[in-house]
Symmetry: C2
Subunit: 271 residues, 2 copies
């Protein structure tokens, strides 16, 4: 596991997690995150903003301590004024890794968007600090964030709602609880809006550990579904009316279980 290198120019890992990651029995994802953060030398900042529950931050603090993290700080950012708080920015600047909890991704984007906290997370990630997010926290890491959409398989013209995310990675759109909530329809709708995007559908208890070269390894008990629209030969998206079935020819799909790898830049998958 590479040790964190805050002073270097390599981007830290970006780690979207599909939600409901195992916390007790075999917490493979969280264990690997804590190791990556530096184990006993780790300073982990938890951002519980997506959650409406008061104890979400504390819960992860306790979890990370149990998993051997040196120090964990939860930043109680509940509204936009909190996200301007210089004390929290200073605390972020001391950390080796950031963990963004689940909840509602529109809380993350509306509360953090454009604030010093969001800017600092982008800056420290670029300098080597790892950023993980689960569920809503996974959605926010990409430039284009899914906030809602239709369930099912086939895409439609109005099948997904997008909002700007935090932009730690740019050429992907991430979805969570993917198999559990039947979200292929909205991921296909998103990537067919603009096929420069790669769709990453994360099952629950499944994470993509994306390194500085935009290559990731799958960790966890589920699968990651990759939807690569680069070779689409025909799309009726631009001509479709609301509710119409769409035609999309030649999508590439990969299903990736634990240990498989994918390179987002080259769009290559490896077993």
């Amino acid at each position: 596991m590479p040790s964190p290198n805050i002073e270097g120019q390599q981007r830290g890992y970006v780690i979207p997690i599909g939600g409901a990651e195992e916390k007790i029995d075999n917490p493979e994802i969280l264990t690997r995150f804590v190791e990556l953060a530096g184990g006993a030398d780790a300073v982990i900042c938890v951002i519980p903003t997506a959650s409406q529950l008061d104890d979400t931050g504390e819960r992860y603090e306790k979890l990370f301590q149990e998993l051997g993290a040196g120090k964990t700080i939860s930043l109680p950012i509940r509204e936009r004024s909190d996200a301007q708080n210089n004390e929290y920015v200073e605390q972020l600047l001391t950390c080796t890794a950031v963990f963004i909890t689940g909840g509602n991704q529109l809380r993350l984007s509306t509360i953090l968007g454009g604030t010093p906290i969001a800017k600092t997370i982008r800056q420290i990630n670029a300098k080597g600090v790892h950023v993980a997010g689960t569920s809503a926290g996974a959605a926010i890491v990409s430039q284009h964030m899914i906030t809602g959409g239709s369930t099912g398989i086939v895409p439609t013209e109005d099948g997904v709602n997008l909002a700007p995310g935090m932009g730690l990675i740019n050429t992907v759109v991430v979805d969570q609880h993917f198999n559990q909530r039947n979200r292929l329809s909205r991921l296909l709708s998103a990537v067919s809006y603009n096929p420069f995007l790669v769709g990453i559908g994360l099952d629950e208890d499944t994470a993509a550990f994306i390194d500085e070269n935009n290559e990731f390894t799958v960790v966890g008990s589920g699968a990651i579904t990759i939807v690569d629209p680069a070779d689409i030969e025909y799309s009726s998206m631009a001509d479709a009316r609301r509710g119409d079935a769409l035609t999309l020819l030649n999508l590439k799909v990969h299903i990736l279980a634990s240990g498989s790898r994918y390179n987002i830049s080259t769009r290559q998958a490896f077993a």
Copy 2:
């Protein structure tokens, strides 16, 4: 619309329908089926065996009459002894098209499998009689028939149950109510068992009109999802244990709305 040619050697159309086809408002699929069967010259045999309801046969008789079919006969085949009945075989031999209703596909395979009725349907289809089936009736047309499986997106080692179907078409596996019941998982499981299969996922009110060259046009209000596993580069299916997430690299997927075409033999899609 080509007229039926019972004496010729061209196979009749095979027409799997994804269930819940529109019957009143704009019955596009049933209208096209009646035209194909010969319109005023049509003799349509309805096979209501999949259904447990007494009036399913009569209902379709009435529908086809309203749509201008010359003659419609429902064959009340409820058990295996009925499927040995020579009178029903004789009636089948007079028809220009067969319509297999929905219900339970295991009723179709257990009641019709290996009987003179099943053999006659195969023989007359080979000689030019068109065979349509909706829902369970769609499942039965292929050689390998899905009888059950898991819902969701990602495939698993035990994600689908297959049984022998009627085998009017051989290199495909058909699924119905596809988008409505989230059945990609079981279709992916089926095609990854043996990638010689093409997976055809039919939405409700959507049909594939498959001609004698194994090419079909999509008719109806939904989409047909094609899963083509021919280019799979890696599959962990053979090594997976029950419940494991699978890795499948390089699946090709097409989403086909009304008017799109697909050639099952060449595996080419056309907008």
